[in-house]
């Protein structure tokens, strides 16, 4: 039996009737056509589906849509106007932090959270911070450099 849910997605109120078994990632992708949230494993390991739930990163593949009732969800699409995300994206471009791009939305959201909690992480802290986001292409080096670059750029922006 379908259940009603009501939540905020990227700042907009969304009401829907969903099967309890539907996970949030499929709700975003298939129902709302927000396809920046990728699925790389659907069992909570790879991090490709990472979104912000009430401001904190979560795996959308192992969060049921019905369990996200009332939550405030933000996907990469909904961070298009976020000034900090703009800096992070530009850093990923500058430091070649992506290849095929499949892990990228999850990486970007994890980075946004990491740098909010730890504004000046060292390389080891960055690696630990993104250890829950798998990338098969880059070997992570470009990603680590991108995050270092973003941390410095954000710090500069803050000072200015």
């Amino acid at each position: 039996m379908k259940l009603p849910i009501s939540l905020t997605v990227n700042g907009e109120r969304v009401e829907a009737l969903v099967e309890p078994r539907l996970h949030l990632a499929d709700f975003l992708r298939e129902h709302l056509r927000l396809t920046a949230t990728h699925l790389g494993c659907e069992h909570g390991v790879c991090g490709a589906c990472t979104v912000l739930v009430d401001g904190a990163p979560a795996r959308a593949c192992i969060l049921l849509a019905v369990a996200a009732d009332g939550a405030d969800i933000r996907t990469l699409e909904g961070l298009a106007d976020d000034p900090r995300m703009a800096v992070i994206k530009e850093s990923f471009h500058q430091k070649h932090g992506l290849q095929c791009g499949f892990c990228t939305p999850g990486m970007l959201i994890t980075t946004l959270d990491l740098l909010a909690r730890k504004p000046a992480p060292d390389a080891a802290e960055i690696r630990a911070g993104i250890s829950g986001n798998l990338c098969r292409c880059t070997g992570y080096q470009g990603i680590v450099r991108s995050i270092q670059h973003a941390a410095a750029a954000l710090e500069q922006a803050e000072e200015a």
Binding site: E19, R21, L22, R29, E30, R33, T35, A36, T37, H38, L39, G40, C41, E42, H43, V45, C46, A48, T75, L76, E77, A80, K89, F92, H93, Q94, H96, L98, Q99, C100, G101, F102, C103, T104, P105, L108, A123, I126, R127, A128, I130, S131, G132, N133, L134, C135, R136, C137, T138, G139, Y140, Q141, G142, I143, V144
Partner: protein
């Protein structure tokens, strides 16, 4: 032309420039469009019923009444021809790989039925409800089991389970054996693993009414070739089939086969006239996507007292699983490994046998590095063993055995023609960067935390961008000899390159634009690269075998060079200047201080032919097909060197330092080259340390989720230091050599060498991949000294 010299000093965007990628924007905005992102009205989702058994006869299939009409079996798509990849080697045993199992299943994960529903969840419900009556057959779960004399056969009509055995024997091995002061024998095993692109495979098929064609989207590395084979398998004219590879989230070889899922979904969509979509999930990927590696080696090296190799005897056995993948055939892994076994070394005598074994496992397919990762693992661990026997530093023994630069071009004992390079210098630079002397000193001191330090290195030479001659020699159903490019300006002066390769992370939308810039002086941002669509680009072979930059780069260069001539003619005419006096830069044609823009030229070419010089054809469009000057391949090479620390109490390994010195000829974009190397190393470290899909005695794969199958995360991959050498290939445009795969070739050998160096004093040597902490502990626990020792 040399790379650095070729880079345009004005804009720094040509060949050799570290240009940032054109394609980044859409991915950073979450606007890439991967297969699962595509929606079509009325789309039905596919779930496959896959075999839970390794080897069984199908006696019956019971479909619940409620689901009739939503479940389809082999008999429903009987018109679809099975996949058949037949090698040309004498004695090759062919097998039919059906889209859906007929009568018998041969591996866990083989497809039995297609289930359709509006959502994937419902399609899975249907698949779960189907009852299959199996008659179990003895599973051939290991190559030794399959090779036993009385073993049942995977394919009944075969005499045994050997797909093919080939041999290369050159020189007098008996003499080498007689003359040898050192004889070293080793047996090695590389584990079977998965490719694990982060995006799985996937297929969408629907009928386009207006074009009256079947449109098949596939997350594939070679859409044009898929169209050809799919048309044949479905009995369609190729003109009635369009194959599109949308954005592809990693390939690495696993998306470089014609897979039964493509055939099944396309066939059923054709039959039903309904749009269908199958998106591979991770479990399907791990269990049923083509697997990688699983080699076993039996090796004997004959050397003089200083470790100079006199001869090599090698027996390579590969567990290729149940079927031959198209077009590579089951024999590719073993054949390539045995064929490149001597690597960068000058070994005069060789006797190599390659045996491909058929078992009840998922078919083995190409994976980054293909047979060469195994070959390097074999020869490189063997050389270390020779050096130990000679009581010498492995680095020295290695370098002394290498093909000298003045021997180039060099024909190897297996008949490969190495085109250029300085292998010993490459190795020396890697060793110097690691500072081997310091590592040895550190080893002498011991670590305060009780860990053991080891140094290891491994070198390879990699045939890349091989064309017609090599593929003909391998006897494949398709000869991947060339690449096309169509360069077309739009009337507003932007350039669109239509190419037959497929970009899935390599940065080809940027590097091919750099080649265009090199020829035309057009800003890279003004170039669009179109690929991955059989209707949008000329017929090409796709992206694999480290070929795209060399091949498509050559084609783009040729087409754009022709285009440049035409633009010069038109530009000179518009500027009323002599043709020889104009130059192209910044998207403009210059005569002294005067210029006309490409937009003006395109405007004239398309919309105002009256402004063109007399006799000049309107339009701005050129096409070209490129084949390298020699099709025997441009050989990239590298030495990887690393130090690691192994914790004897836990078996955990930490890579402390990792250096790659490599030479891929002229680098089009060093930024992207370095990233490809590093990404390859990370995958190679996965092979070396983590990744494995063991099978139990029932033929059940023991890793089917990311909980039991681990790929390296950010903490498991070190910072890799990449040193570049640049010896242009004499055979290719700009001197480019292929480099996409190389990073993944050496890590298993380098890591295992380093591990064995670290454990030497414990009397322990490992000879397998992956060297998991458990395997290290088992080896240590079995060694006499370690029994009661606890390391704090």
């Amino acid at each position: 032309m040399n790379a650095a010299a070729a880079a345009d000093p004005n804009t720094g965007q040509g060949v050799g420039a570290p240009v940032l990628r054109n394609e980044d924007r859409r991915f950073l905005d979450g606007k890439g469009e991967y297969l699962a992102d595509i929606q079509l009205p009325g789309l039905l989702e596919v779930a496959f019923l896959r075999s839970p058994l390794a080897h069984a006869r199908i006696r019956g299939i019971a479909i619940p009444e409620a689901h009739r009409g939503r479940v389809f079996l082999a008999s429903d798509i009987a018109f679809a021809q099975p996949i058949s990849a037949v090698g040309a080697a004498p004695g090759f045993k062919a097998s039919d790989y059906p889209a859906l199992a007929v009568e018998k299943v041969r591996f866990v994960g083989e497809m039995i039925a297609i289930c359709l529903a509006p959502t994937r969840a419902e399609a899975e419900d249907i698949a779960q409800s189907i009852q299959v009556d199996f008659e179990e057959l003895p599973p051939l779960w290991d190559m030794d089991v399959a090779l036993a004399p009385d073993a049942p056969r995977v394919h009944e009509h075969w005499a045994d389970n050997v797909v093919v055995e080939t041999r290369i024997a050159v020189g007098d091995l008996a003499a080498a054996e007689r003359d040898a002061a050192i004889t070293v024998h080793r047996t090695l095993a590389m584990g079977r693993h998965a490719g694990v692109s982060l995006e799985g495979r996937g297929v969408i098929a629907h009928h386009d009414r207006r074009m009256d064609e079947l449109v098949v989207y596939s997350s594939t590395q070679f859409p044009h070739v898929i169209r050809t084979i799919l048309a044949r398998a479905l009995g369609l004219a190729e003109s009635k089939l369009r194959v599109v590879a949308p954005d592809v989230g990693g390939g690495f070889g696993i998306k470089n086969n014609f897979n039964p899922e493509e055939l099944a979904v396309a066939a059923l969509a054709l039959k039903l006239g309904k749009p269908l979509r199958w998106v591979e999930d991770r479990r399907e990927h791990l269990v049923a996507s083509p697997h990688a590696r699983e080699h076993r080696y039996d090796l004997t090296a004959y050397a003089d007292a200083r470790g100079r190799l006199l001869g090599l005897k090698a027996r390579v056995r590969v567990d290729a699983g149940a079927y031959s993948v198209w077009p590579w055939t089951a024999a590719m892994e073993a054949g390539m490994s045995a064929g490149i076994m001597t690597g960068p070394y000058d070994i005069p005598v060789y006797d190599g046998t390659a045996v491909t074994v058929c078992t009840n496992k998922s078919p083995l397919g190409p994976y980054r590095g293909v047979g060469r990762t195994g070959a390097a693992f074999a020869i490189e661990t063997l050389i270390d063993a020779v050096a130990r026997a000679a009581g010498r530093e492995p680095a020295d023994v290695r370098i002394e055995n290498m093909v000298a630069p003045d021997a180039m071009p060099y024909r190897s004992v297996t008949g490969k023609l190495y085109d250029s390079g300085d292998y010993p210098e490459c190795a020396r630079r890697a060793v110097a960067a690691i500072d081997l002397a310091a590592v040895r000193a550190r080893q002498g001191r011991g670590e305060p935390d009780g860990r053991l330090i080891g140094f290891g290195m491994a070198s390879y030479t990699e045939q890349s961008a091989h064309g017609t001659a090599e593929w003909v020699a391998r006897g494949l159903p398709v000869v991947f000899g060339y690449e096309p490019a169509l360069a077309r300006f739009t009337p507003d002066g932007k350039l669109i390159l239509h190419v037959g390769i497929q970009n899935h992370g390599q940065g080809l939308e940027t590097t091919l634009a750099q080649v265009a810039h090199q020829e035309l002086g057009i800003p890279v941002a003004d170039v669009v690269v179109r690929h991955g669509d059989s209707s949008l680009s000329p017929y090409g072979m796709g992206t694999f075998a480290s070929r795209s930059m060399t091949m498509a780069g050559g084609a783009v260069s040729l087409a754009c060079a022709r285009m440049a001539e035409k633009i010069r003619r038109i530009g000179a005419h518009l500027l009323q200047a002599p043709r020889e006096a104009v130059r192209l830069a910044g998207g403009q044609v210059w005569f002294g201080e005067q210029f006309v823009s490409f937009a003006q030229i395109a405007d004239a070419a398309y919309l105002h032919p009256e402004r063109l010089p007399e006799g000049e054809d309107p339009a701005l469009e050129e096409s070209a097909v490129y084949q390298p000057g020699r099709s025997t391949g441009a050989f990239s090479y590298a030495t990887h060197a690393c130090t690691l620390a192994v914790d004897p109490g836990t078996g955990l390994i930490e890579i402390l330092d990792y250096v790659v010195c490599h030479d891929c000829g002229t680098m089009v974009n060093p930024l992207l080259v370095e990233a490809q190397v590093v990404g390859g190393v990370a995958q190679g470290l996965g092979t070396a340390l983590f990744e494995e899909i063991p099978y139990d005695e029932n033929g059940q794969p023991l890793a089917s989720t990311f909980l039991d199958y681990m790929i390296p995360g950010a903490c498991e991959v070190p910072d890799v230091r990449v040193l570049h050498m640049e010896t242009p290939s004499p055979h290719t445009r700009f001197g480019i050599k292929g480099m996409g795969e190389g990073g993944a070739i050496s890590p298993p050998a380098a890591v295992v060498n380093a591990l064995n160096d670290a454990l030497r004093r414990r009397g322990v040597e490992l000879a397998c991949t992956p060297v998991t902490p458990l395997r290290v502990r088992e080896a240590l626990a079995a060694a006499p000294r370690a029994k009661t020792e606890v390391v704090a």
